[in-house]
Amino acid sequence: MAQVLPAEHDVRRIIGDGDGVADGEVEGLDDAALLDLYRAMVLLRTYDERSVVYHSQGRVGTYAIFWGHEAIQAGSALALADEDWIFPSYRESAIGLLRGMTPETVLSWWRGHPAGWWNPREFRIASITVPIATHVPHAVGYAWGARLKGESACALVYFGDGATSEGAFHEGANFAAVMRAPVVLLCNNNQWAISTPLSAQTRAEFLADKAAGYGMPGVRVDGGDVLAVYQATSEALARARAGHGPTFVEALTYRCAPHVTADDPTAYWDAQRVERERENECLGRYDRYLRRLGVLSDELAEDARDDALERMKSGIAAAEALPPPDPEVVFASAYVDPPPTLREG
């Protein structure tokens, strides 16, 4: 029987507020690594902001905004080993950028172009899952499969607070614990599921408490604190690699943007709260932390932004220069060795 403590309730933080709360640090992260995290966040932020603009210009379709979620995504993805697999939801559509994917590919995905179908094996990133929570069992199975093959790869699966209401989450989490699958269940708790607030999603005070019911550790972390996310994920991965099974990480944040570009949140959200939360957004917090530490200069910050913008510019240009897809592709990719008798109905 696994010994599992009740889930943590205190939200883990490392970045201070430059005032009463002191800055901490993560062991093993040198200046270069700290700046890697910074650049990753800037790249994601730039991707997101540009995508909203591109959408308004009709250059990408309906787009799931992740503004304010960059700390969760960068902090966790950079904690992974190269061989570890990522199972993203639509909210982490651009996570591939942190593994060398070009913006052209991700933009193509949102443009509905087959060039957006990246090779999951090349990037160790599964295809984006839009049906909620369905990919939790996939990550568990991947991790279990890797273990059976004697590999040390782990899996990291991203899903939202709303996803914890789905059977696939529950069954997947239970499976993971029972099999001791080397997987990290990373819940992006942005406190909204489209128009449904967390309070209408669950009566549980803390999502992390669910972990105890499955017999796995539950960790709560400030999702606006990239270092806290990095550390919590690293710890969870170390447990997984050591054969101790899954961890549930609840990364707390607040969705400060519409659910997707097509959504009008004015009917349901609290504009003042959104305003407050936006002021405390994760990239600014990390930027100020690095400056207090003396690691980040104006020049470096500008460099990171310019580089990200440049990549986006060439990414959208390349995506727009792609020839329209050949509709026949639909028959080429639905089956391995497509049975000829199934063509055209």
Partner: protein
């Protein structure tokens, strides 16, 4: 006659039922403040309050399952499943439970549950949000299946679905929500299992469902230019099916095209073709033609989506084939 959009017509049926009957309520994902992902329940929260217009957690299985329980308790729940693609998460509840509760109690309990769901392609929602899966449900004894294509039909059929004592799956097509049309001044039910003849004709019968009803009507107009007289029949209820109207029409025209947006293979069209060849064999002048999506997942890319799903010109081509004019 007032004119309503398809969306408003559906809302009107629900609201009117809720005004008249305390035991009618709606629940589903994001249906309260937001008014549903397609805006169908907009304004209903204000009128009926959060107990009767209930936002649920993201739990399709429990939405349908709890709908069954509430129906057994004597309520007439209307549950909304945001996309019919997500009915896949609730299949056990529907197929094993809702459809069998009455049978397995020897007819002693009833499940007056209405499951509203929407779907369909034509707006590039991608492979997991665009399917037309209605044929799956037609294999299941114990439920009824409705697919309305006009505002008047949507309102009347939803009304009948709500007051039907059996579980009813009520399909809406995403691209029809803004379609405007006349509805009767007074709300009234349309009998489940009665087809509607949209247009009378002499040469070819098109049996069409959902969005394809409108494509069929376009095709019929064009065929007319060619001197082909087309009758368009919308079954409206797929289970039970108004075989009589379909067969009578084909006996008159001697030719039949079945058109739906779902894939052709093993589809609703195959069933209609079987019924027609069995009951109108001696009347047929041409093989029954089927029009539907190509056998592929629905792609996200608009040009590819257009390629996969059927349009008026596909229906017209089928009509011409039955006339030996291809």
């Amino acid at each position: 006659m007032p004119a309503l959009t398809y969306r408003e017509a559906i809302r009107d049926a629900m609201s009117e039922a809720m005004r008249r009957d305390d035991d009618v309520f709606v629940m589903g994902e994001d249906i309260a403040e937001m008014g549903g992902s397609m805006g169908v329940t907009q304004g209903m929260l204000d009128e009926f309050g959060p107990d009767r217009v209930r936002n649920t957690p993201i739990s399709e299985m429990a939405i349908v399952g709890a709908g069954i329980g509430a129906a057994v308790s004597g309520m007439r729940p209307i549950v909304e499943v945001m996309y019919q693609d997500f009915m896949t998460l609730a299949m056990e509840q529907l197929v094993q439970q809702a459809a069998k509760h009455r049978f397995m109690s020897g007819g002693q309990i009833k499940v007056p549950l209405t499951i509203r769901t929407q779907g369909g392609a034509g707006w590039s929602p991608g492979a997991q949000h665009a399917q037309q899966l209605e044929a799956w449900f037609l294999h299941v004894p114990g439920i009824k299946v409705v697919f309305a294509s006009t505002p008047a039909d949507a309102r009347g059929l939803l009304w009948s679905s709500i007051y039907d004592d059996n579980p009813v799956v009520f399909f809406e097509h995403r691209t029809l929500y803004n379609l405007k049309g006349d509805v009767p001044a007074e709300i009234d039910g349309i009998e489940l299992g009665r087809a509607r003849v949209h247009r009378e004709g002499e040469d070819v019968t098109i049996v069409a469902t959902g969005r394809l009803v409108h494509e069929a009507l376009k095709a019929a107009e064009e065929a007319e230019q060619d001197g082909i007289s087309v009758e368009v029949v919308d079954p409206r209820t797929l289970l039970p099916l108004d075989e009589e109207t379909i067969v009578a029409s084909v006996r008159k025209t001697s030719r039949c095209v079945v058109a739906h947006e779902a894939v052709v293979r093993m589809g609703f069209g195959a069933e209609v073709a079987a019924i027609v060849q069995h009951q109108a064999f001696d009347y047929l002048d041409a093989p029954v033609e089927r029009v539907g999506a190509k056998f592929a997942p629905i792609p996200f890319a608009p040009v590819m989506e257009e390629y996969v799903i059927p349009h008026a010109e596909d229906v017209l081509a089928a009509v011409r084939r039955t006339m030996g004019k291809d």
